[in-house]
Subunit: 172 residues, 2 copies
DNA sequence: TCTGAAAGTTTTCATCC
DNA sequence: GGATGAAAACTTTCAGA
C-alpha cells in the first residue's frame, strides 16, 4: 500500500490524506473488517499474514483516509420489535436546485431515514425508512413526503422480508 | 430487561432465547452501539449509567437473543474506488413459489448483493448492488436478472450520490 | 442484577529492521 | 513498510451485596 506522499520516513503529519492505493493484503483486511470487526488485531493479522501492529497501522490509514468511517453493531430487523421497513421512491418538482437541498436536509434530519440515495432516472431519490410501528411510519412519511413542499410524487414499497441487510462493499 | 425464563439464578443455558423485553437503558445502549461500537465497555457504561461489567452482560444478552448479530467496519462508498451502486427493482413471473426460492438463492450467493428485500406491491424485490466498476455491474446484472429464468421485468436506478448509508434501526 | 477488583488479553507505542 | 516487546488499557470473571 502506498500513500500519495514523497519522502521516506517523513510525513507522519495529521492532515488526512486520500486516495489510498490498496495492495492485496489491504483488500483482504478490508473484507475481513467488513464481515466481522470484533476480532483482535492478532487474529486479523493471522488471517492476512501480518503482525498485530502492522494490522493496526493499516487500519489507522484507512481511518485517516476516511475509507473506513466507523465500527457499528448491526441489529437484525427480524428480531427487533415492531420494525416497519419501507423503500420509498421520490420525485421532486423540476425547479431550482434549492428544492433538492431543502429536501435532503429534511431527510437527513430524521434518524429513521436509514439510507438515502440520489439516483438517476425517472425517480430522484430512494429512501429506506425504518420505523417502530405503522403509526410512526405514517407520521414520518407525512412529514417527509406529504408536508414537504416540493415532492411531486412518491411511492412506498413495504418490506415483507429483509433477505439481506448490511453495508458490505467490494474493494476490487 | 427481562428474558422469558422462570426461576431466578437458574437457566444460564446455551439455547438462545428470544423476545427480549428492553428497558430504558437497553434502548440507549443499543442506540449507542449502533452509532459507534468501537468504544470500551467503561465508556459505554458511562453513557448509560452502568458499570463496564453490567454493560458486557447486557451485550451478551442481545447477542444470544440474536437481536445484535454482528460488529462490522463500515466503508464510505464515496471513498471506495470505482464503486457503482445501483438500486434494482425486480418482478418475477407469477408461478410456483419455487421460482422465488431459486431467485433468492441466486441473489444471496452473490456478495455484491449488498441488500435484498422482499417487498409488497407492483415489484417483488428491491436489491442494492455494489460493484467495482460498470463492467462488473453489467456482469452481475446479466447473471442475476437476465440469465435468471423467472424474471419478468426489472429496472435499474444508478446511485448518483449515497446521501446516507447504514443499518441503524430505532428500538422504540 | 448490580458493583468492584483480580486475572488474563489486547492495544498502543517506541525502537529496530 | 514491517516486527518486536513492554506499558497502558481493556475485557473477562467472580465474589459480595
Amino acid at each position: 500500500m502506498e500513500i500519495e506522499t514523497s519522502g521516506a520516513l517523513t510525513q507522519q503529519c495529521c492532515v488526512p490524506r486520500h486516495r489510498l492505493t490498496l495492495d492485496e493484503i489491504d483488500h483482504r483486511l478490508l473484507d475481513e473488517l467488513q464481515r466481522d470487526a470484533s476480532r483482535s488485531l492478532r487474529v486479523l493479522g493471522e488471517k492476512v499474514g501480518l503482525s498485530a501492529s502492522a494490522v493496526q497501522r493499516r487500519i489507522d490509514r484507512y481511518r485517516s483516509a476516511k475509507v473506513l468511517t466507523r465500527h457499528v453493531a448491526v441489529l437484525d430487523p427480524r428480531r427487533t420489535a415492531d420494525i416497519v421497513l419501507a423503500v420509498v421512491l421520490i420525485t421532486l418538482e423540476r425547479e431550482s436546485s434549492g428544492h433538492h437541498d431543502a429536501f435532503r436536509r429534511r431527510l437527513l434530519a430524521v434518524p429513521e431515514v436509514q439510507q438515502a440515495y440520489d439516483v438517476a432516472g425517472e425517480w430522484d431519490y430512494v429512501v429506506l425508512l425504518a420505523a417502530t410501528g405503522m403509526d410512526r411510519h405514517n407520521e414520518l412519511a407525512n412529514h417527509l413526503f406529504n408536508d414537504a413542499p416540493n415532492v411531486k410524487r412518491y411511492t412506498t414499497m413495504f418490506v415483507l422480508d429483509p433477505l439481506r441487510t448490511g453495508t458490505y462493499l467490494p474493494t476490487r
